[in-house]
C-alpha cells in the first residue's frame, strides 16, 4: 500500500497536504482499494464552511457509498473539476490527479494533530 512520507493522514483514510494555510485533501490508496471502482464523486461546494470531522461530500463506488469527512476546520476554496467526468482518478492516482478539494484552514493547529505516515501505516496494518 502506497503511503507517501510527506503527507499527513486522518483515521478516516484521507490524506492531507499543506501549503501555507491551505490544505489539499483526497482519499488514500488504502481507501480507494477498499472502495473499489469509484463511479461518482459529489463535487464539494466552494465556499462551504466546515468543522473538523463534518461529513461534507460522498464518493460512490460499484460496491457502496462512502462519506468524506473534513480533516480540519475551514472553508472549501476549490474542488477538483476533473472528478465530474473522471471519478476513476481516485483509483488511478489517489495522491495526485484524484485530489478532491482544497480547504482554507481556520485553525492550523489541527493540521499538527493529524497522523504522520508512520502512524497511518500502523493504523492500516493494525
Amino acid at each position: 500500500m502506497n503511503i507517501p512520507d510527506e503527507l499527513r493522514y486522518s483515521s478516516d483514510h484521507e490524506w492531507i497536504s499543506r501549503d501555507g494555510n491551505t490544505v489539499t485533501i483526497g482519499i488514500t490508496d488504502y481507501a480507494q482499494d477498499s472502495l473499489g471502482d469509484v463511479v461518482f464523486v459529489e463535487l464539494p461546494e466552494v465556499g462551504q464552511d466546515l468543522a473538523a470531522s463534518d461529513t461534507f461530500t460522498e464518493v460512490e463506488s460499484t460496491k457502496s457509498v462512502s462519506d468524506i469527512y473534513a480533516p480540519v476546520s475551514g472553508t472549501i476554496s476549490e474542488a477538483n473539476p476533473a472528478l465530474e467526468d473522471q471519478p476513476e482518478l481516485l483509483n488511478t492516482d489517489p495522491y495526485g490527479e484524484g485530489w478532491i478539494c482544497r480547504i482554507e484552514m481556520s485553525d492550523p493547529s489541527q493540521y499538527d494533530a493529524l497522523l504522520d505516515a508512520a502512524a497511518y501505516r500502523d493504523l492500516t496494518e493494525g
Partner: protein, 354 residues
C-alpha cells in the same frame, strides 16, 4: 459460522482477489483490474466467474421428473434430457418466490433413468433440498461460469467439447480425462457456459482458462452485469412477499400445469391482478440509486428501488424498482438517493440490449 470456501480459493489468492462474504461463502468480489474493467471484458470478450457458491442438488431416479414437475413452477415437459431450464420454487401459502433455480437435465440414453442437477442460490440450498429431496453435492465440485461474446471460442481452445455446448444445452464433457458437466447457461446477458468440474480438477482447469486469455471477474461485475441485463437477484427482485408475476416473470410459471407448490396463491394473484410490478429506471448522471431508494411520480412516493448501480456500458445510473402496475415505460420519475433527487424515467429492460 466460518464462511465456506470455493475449491478455487488458492487461484483467487494467487490472482490477488478481494473477497466478500456472500450467502455464507467467502468469494472474490473483484480482482486488481477492478469491477468496471471486468464488466467491460465480459461485454467485449470473455470473463470467468467462480460460481461454486451456487448449490448443486442431485435429484435422480424413476420419480425424479415427477418430483420436480409437481414442485417447481416451470413445465419440465417443455424440455428434455440434455437441456437446462430456469424455474421457481414458490411458498405454498402466499406464492412468493422462495428460490429461483436453474435445472440441468443431464443427457441420457432412452433406457437410462433421469438425472437432474438443481442449482439454487447459495443461501437457499437447504430449503430446496427440503422441498425436492435429493443429495447436496455442492462440496464435490466447482462451477466456473465463462461468459462473453468470445466465451465459447476461447473455451474451445482448451476444452473443445465444452466450447461446442449450445445455449441452454447440458452436456457431459471430458477435460484431460476429468468428467465435467457443462451447461450453456449464465447470468450476465452474454452468451456463455457454466462448467461443473470435480473439486480436485478445478484449479488446473481455471488456470488453463486464464492462460487462454480469459479475464477473471468477481461478484461485483457479476452484479453490475446482471443488472444491465435486467436479471433478478433473489433477496432483491425475488424473495419473501415477491411473486413471479410482480417480478414480471409470468413466463416462468406453467399456468396450465395441474399442480406445483404455491399454485393456488399464484392463480389467485393472476385473477385479481398484481398490486405492484418490477420496472427498470434509467437515471440521469453517474450517481447511482441504491436498494431502498424511494421512487416518486409527481412528488408522491410510489415505490422502492430493489437494486441500483452505475451502468458501465451506458455511463449513467440504472435501477430496478417495484411500483404500481399503472406506472409503465416512459413515465418520468424521480429517485431519492439519501436526500438528493435524481431525475429518471421508466425504461425497457434489459437496459443494455443484446
Amino acid at each position: 459460522m466460518t464462511a465456506r470456501q470455493s475449491p478455487l480459493v488458492a487461484q483467487h489468492r494467487a490472482l490477488d482477489a478481494q473477497f466478500v462474504d456472500f450467502g455464507g461463502w467467502e468469494m472474490p468480489i473483484s480482482y486488481p483490474t477492478g469491477t468496471i474493467a471486468e464488466h467491460m471484458a465480459c461485454r467485449t470478450s470473455a470473463t470467468a466467474f467462480d460460481v461454486s457458491h451456487l448449490g448443486s442438488i442431485r435429484v435422480e431416479g424413476d420419480d425424479a421428473f415427477a418430483r420436480l414437475q409437481s414442485t417447481l413452477t416451470n413445465d419440465l415437459g417443455k424440455v428434455s434430457p440434455g437441456r437446462a431450464q430456469y424455474t421457481h420454487l414458490l411458498d405454498a401459502d402466499d406464492g412468493s418466490v422462495r428460490d429461483d433455480i436453474i435445472v440441468w437435465w443431464h443427457p441420457r440414453a432412452d433406457d437410462e433413468p433421469d438425472v437432474f442437477d438443481v442449482m439454487p442460490n447459495a443461501s437457499n440450498t437447504e430449503r430446496v433440498v427440503d422441498a425436492l429431496g435429493g443429495v447436496d453435492s455442492t462440496a464435490s465440485r466447482a462451477v466456473i461460469a465463462v461468459q462473453g461474446p468470445d466465451a465459447r471460442a476461447i473455451v474451445a481452445t482448451v476444452f473443445p467439447e465444452a466450447g461446442a455446448v449450445g445455449r441452454f444445452r447440458v452436456a457431459h464433457c471430458t477435460w484431460e480425462s476429468t468428467p465435467c458437466t457443462v451447461g450453456g447457461t449464465g447470468y450476465t446477458g452474454e452468451p456463455g457456459l457454466e462448467i461443473a468440474v470435480p473439486a480436485d480438477a478445478a484449479g488446473p482447469l481455471w488456470d488453463a482458462l486464464m492462460v487462454a486469455g480469459i479475464t477473471p471477474a468477481g461478484l461485483g461485475a457479476r452484479d453490475t452485469l446482471r443488472l444491465e441485463a435486467g436479471l433478478p437477484l433473489h433477496g432483491h427482485e425475488l424473495g419473501p412477499g415477491i411473486t413471479p408475476l410482480q417480478a414480471g416473470l409470468n413466463w416462468v410459471v406453467a399456468w396450465d400445469k395441474p399442480s406445483f407448490v404455491g399454485r393456488d396463491a399464484a392463480v389467485a394473484e393472476r385473477e385479481r391482478g398484481v398490486t405492484r410490478h418490477l420496472v427498470g429506471i434509467a437515471t440521469e448522471g453517474r450517481r447511482p440509486a441504491r436498494e431502498g431508494s424511494v421512487v416518486r411520480v409527481d412528488g408522491d412516493d410510489v415505490g422502492v428501488v430493489s437494486s441500483g448501480n452505475f451502468s458501465p456500458v451506458l455511463g449513467h445510473g440504472i435501477a430496478m424498482a417495484f411500483v404500481p402496475p399503472e406506472i409503465g415505460i416512459g413515465r418520468p420519475v424521480t429517485v431519492d438517493v439519501r436526500g438528493k433527487e435524481l431525475d429518471g424515467s421508466v425504461v425497457e429492460m434489459p437496459f443494455v440490449p443484446k
